[in-house]
């Protein structure tokens, strides 16, 4: 069926429950650890746990892990944004080609260097 849109991958509910359990545990851990005197480490531990929890939510609940593993057209944000190809190669570029802020900057730098080299040699 043409309904098979790429990111329509259904993740197993087990995985969601696993992430949920991890998040709950981390919540308890972070609250408990705050009562232990670790000196200046307390803040660091709290923030590291918070960041880890946030990552779990972003990667699994918000599906970023999945969408950045597949990489067809569209959908993938992170790798597309950082993907590298010279700005000169214009063969790509239908309307659904991914964003290219970073690639353009990189490609541009590349072009400049190449041109500078050419000028220097000739």
């Amino acid at each position: 069926m043409s309904e098979h849109i790429k990111s329509e991958h259904v993740m197993s509910s087990k995985m969601y429950y696993g992430i949920w359990a991890a998040l709950m545990c981390l919540t308890v851990v972070t609250a408990a650890v705050s009562f232990v005197d670790l000196g200046p480490l307390n803040t660091i531990v709290a923030l590291v746990i918070a960041t880890f929890k946030a990552l779990l939510v972003v990667l699994f609940f918000m599906h970023v892990k999945y969408t950045s593993e597949k990489n067809d057209q569209g959908g993938n944000r992170i790798r597309d944004f950082l993907a590298f190809y010279p700005a000169g190669s214009q063969s790509r570029g239908l309307h659904d080609t991914p964003p290219q802020l970073a690639p353009c900057a990189c490609g541009l730098t590349c072009d400049i260097l190449r041109a500078a080299l050419r000028e220097a040699i000739s």
């Binding site: 400049i112 500078a116 000028e119």
Partner: protein, 331 residues
């Protein structure tokens, strides 16, 4: 001739000439750049205006040109940056031993007090050739102390001290403006700086009915408020000994070390709990609201006067509180 139409403010301080020099350089540079770009545009516009049978020549661009006209301006910019920064550095670093004038700004008035005692409102008298450091604070909103002829400007904030300094080189009367918008009569918050020959300044100083030097006022405030009960000049007091504290590092109870500057002393009076000196208890009452900004300044000057002037300063600066020696607590 141009009584009502001057185009250049008087340069009446040692720093003014430096600012003007950079300004003139930048005016020249900008004029040159404008002239170059406008000439090019005009020449191109006329030379290559549309004509029958003449097609435009397609040019893709030139990396060499692009790099040139990015790099060359960048180097010029860096040069200007260094020059401007050097001037700023000098403007922000008061010389040692400068006479310290305390400034309190309020809506819409400047209150100034000389170390020798005289107070002024919206007027500042200074002699030619003396370094004057302004230590400023505000009673309400943000103001800005601006003397165009000295090319100095500094925002004046409530709750903390900011400083500026100048050395006047030319007798005359100059504008003092408030340059940070501060409410209804912002434009009325103006005054003048009167620069006088030293002998006339001395005459002015002795002419005015002075109410004792700032440090002397501070000393009597110090007594009135009962400070010496705890801040004794030995090590037995319940508060730290204040003799020789100013300008030195102070170890705090929480392990930090701060330099005892004007802001620190001020904070220790209005909010003593903020920084507790190592080895002492937070028992000092809060004086916020009990002392006015002027009284606070007097206290700060007095406590400063308890510390000997930094060694290495060129002789006894004329601006040192006159009564400093007399006010030293008896050991």
């Amino acid at each position: 001739m141009f009584d009502n139409f001057p185009l250049w403010p008087t340069a009446a301080s040692t720093g003014a000439g430096n600012v003007d020099a950079l300004y003139i350089f930048l005016v020249a540079l900008s004029s040159f750049m404008c002239a170059a770009i406008f000439t090019m545009i005009i020449v191109f516009a006329l030379r290559y205006r549309r004509r029958k049978g003449v097609e435009a020549e397609q040019i893709e661009g030139s990396t060499v040109l692009e790099i040139t006209w990015s790099a060359v301006p960048l180097f010029i910019f860096l040069f200007i940056f260094v020059w401007g920064a050097a001037i700023y550095f000098a403007e922000r670093t008061p010389p040692r031993g400068a006479t310290e004038v305390y400034v309190v700004a309020k809506q819409w008035m400047w209150k100034l007090q000389h170390p020798e005692g005289p107070r002024e409102i919206n007027e500042l008298h200074v002699p030619v050739g003396r370094d004057v450091k302004l230590i400023m604070t505000s009673q309400d909103v943000i103001h800005s102390f601006y003397v165009p002829s000295f090319r100095i400007k500094q925002d004046v904030l409530p709750g903390r001290y900011t400083t500026a300094w100048f050395r006047a080189i030319k007798p005359g009367t100059y504008h003092l403006f408030c340059a940070e918008y501060c409410g209804t009569m912002h434009s009325g918050m103006i005054g003048q700086v009167v620069v006088m020959e030293p002998n006339r300044y001395e005459a002015w100083l002795s002419g005015g009915g002075t109410s004792g030097s700032l440090a002397a006022n501070g000393a009597s405030m110090f007594q009135q408020l009962g400070c010496p009960t705890c801040h004794r000049s030995d090590t037995q007091g319940r508060g730290p000994n204040l003799v020789g504290v100013f300008g030195k590092p102070v170890h705090l109870e929480d392990g930090r070390t701060v330099i005892a500057d004007e802001d620190y002393i001020r904070e220790s009076i209005v909010a003593p709990a903020a920084k507790i000196v190592s080895g002492f208890k937070p028992i000092m009452p809060v004086f916020q609201g009990l002392v006015s900004e002027e009284q606070l300044n007097a206290l700060v000057v007095y406590i400063k006067s308890l510390s000997p002037p930094p060694s290495g300063s060129a002789g006894q600066p004329s601006g040192l509180p006159a009564g400093a020696e007399l006010q030293q607590p008896k050991e």
